[in-house]
Amino acid sequence: MKIRVIEDNCQGHNRCKAIAPDLFDLDEIGNASAANDGVVPPGQEEMARLAVENCPEFAIEIIEE
């Protein structure tokens, strides 16, 4: 599975990082980007989906199932 954070939508709510700490990096103002080039390690797919569904800005996309 691969995910991506749509930079223009992310407003740094930090829900993704709180739910799936290994899948996201935060910059110095708290905006997120996908860690590890967006590759979701096996076993963390459900966490990735939860991050998507808890982002109030609809800023996270699953680009490969």
Binding site: N14, E28, G30, E53, N54, P56
Partner: protein, 409 residues
């Protein structure tokens, strides 16, 4: 203001955000409006529109610059104060950036304050918050009763933000009084608004002069040293930012902690479940934020726009009812139930878009500490007098008095 306080007959065309029954339990009105008239209107309190559907809120926060943040308060200033504010703005620029700023002015101010509020930065204040929470419990625990709002929830946010700003946490009670003066009482009492606004401005003006002479390792000194677009900030702008950082986190976070304790005091099943399953704290806190979201914001219409079947005109006020959006059945399963293990929770308690609450990580840390410490020390508690519970409403909604009793083994 008696004219404003007539009973409401039609919420769609004549809503009243200060109606006492609404303030106590707004859920039924929101349901009615969302299904019948999702963009409601009123002439009360200066006149405003109000959006209650999740998708409309998402659309409205993106209508920038047509919807301006230069006056984000839900009740407008009285005419004379408005003129004074406009004159000041002409002289010094936007009043309390970033919350009163529009693009392109907004972004550099937001970026200036965000580093103070990242998850890592706020963790630095967890120990302080925890010690404070324990001290507050120490004061009531042997009595077997206390006020979860006044003795506890209310005491935490002013001291934490004071510690961060570099001002004396010992003056927490005063900071609370000032904040209520501008944000709560000041909504319907313009003289109080003016009085407390002046007190806060003067307080920071003096402090900025001191810190310019003798910089310290605190947020104010860092704001003094900072530059926006290559220029240092003037004192008026620095005090405007400090003003915002002081008041934005007090009523709001205290309301969230207070609503949570009110909920658990009155819902024994939820209370026992959380006490028995502390791994639920993260989802339970998000659910408290969703269900008891305390904050509504407003925008000033500056160009004609349409939303739903309504046409907004320049000069209109639009209230963004984020709390109502959080109970929209189009988005949330069982929206009118508190579900402590709700896993999918895209609530908008902290707003959306460019003005997303800068203090959301701090507020979440404070809620986490406040609730965990309370549950650890006082797992069994209940309302001692449900009729004595009082609520404040308007821009910020939350309980102001929550008498509880408890037995601790």
């Amino acid at each position: 203001m008696s004219e404003e306080q007539r009973p409401v007959e039609d919420w769609a065309s004549d809503f009243d955000i200060f109606d006492p029954d609404y303030v106590k339990d707004p859920g039924p009105v929101w349901d009615e409006l969302r299904s019948k008239c999702p963009i409601a209107h009123t002439e009360r309190w200066g006149g405003a529109w109000m959006a209650t559907r999740y998708d409309d809120l998402r659309e409205l926060v993106r209508m920038v610059p047509e919807l301006s943040s230069r006056s984000p308060v839900v009740v407008p200033l009285p005419p004379q104060m408005r003129e004074e504010a406009i004159a000041e703005m002409k002289m010094y620029g936007t009043e309390n950036p970033p919350i009163t700023a529009d693009p392109p002015e907004h972004k550099p101010y937001k970026q200036l304050i965000l580093p103070f509020f990242t998850p890592t930065a706020v963790e630095g204040y967890r120990q302080f918050t925890e010690n404070l929470a324990h001290e507050l419990i120490d004061r009531i625990i042997d009595k077997g009763e206390g006020d979860a709002a006044e003795d506890y929830a209310q005491q935490i946010p002013p001291r934490v933000i004071a510690q961060m700003l570099g001002i004396d946490p010992g003056r927490g009670a005063e900071f609370t009084e000032w904040t209520r003066g501008v944000l709560e009482i000041g909504q319907t009492d313009p003289e109080a608004r003016r009085k407390y606004r002046t007190i806060i401005r003067d307080f920071f003006a003096e402090l900025i002069t001191q810190r310019r002479a003798e910089p310290a390792d605190d947020m104010i000194s860092r704001l003094i040293a900072a530059e926006v677009e290559g220029k240092p900030l003037n004192d008026h702008t620095i005090s405007g930012i400090c003003f915002l950082l002081l008041v934005a986190g007090i009523d709001t976070t205290w309301s969230s902690i207070g609503s949570s304790l009110w909920h658990f005091a009155g819902h024994a099943e939820d209370r026992r479940r959380l006490a028995a399953e502390p791994e639920l704290f993260p989802t339970a806190i998000e659910e408290m934020l969703r269900f008891y979201a305390p904050v509504m914001m407003a925008r000033k219409v500056t160009a004609p726009v349409e939303i739903g079947d309504k046409a907004l005109c320049p000069g209109d006020k639009m209230i963004l009812n984020f709390p109502a959006g959080n109970r929209d059945p189009e988005v949330f399963d069982r929206p009118d139930e508190v579900v402590l293990d709700r896993e999918r929770n895209r609530h908008v308690a902290f707003g959306l878009g460019i003005h997303r609450c800068a203090g959301s990580n701090l507020a979440r840390m404070e809620m986490d500490v406040a609730l965990r410490v309370w549950f650890e020390r006082i797992p069994e508690f209940e309302l001692s007098d449900p009729d004595a519970v009082t609520w404040a409403g308007g821009q910020v909604r939350g309980p102001r008095s929550v008498p509880v009793r408890f037995s601790v083994s």
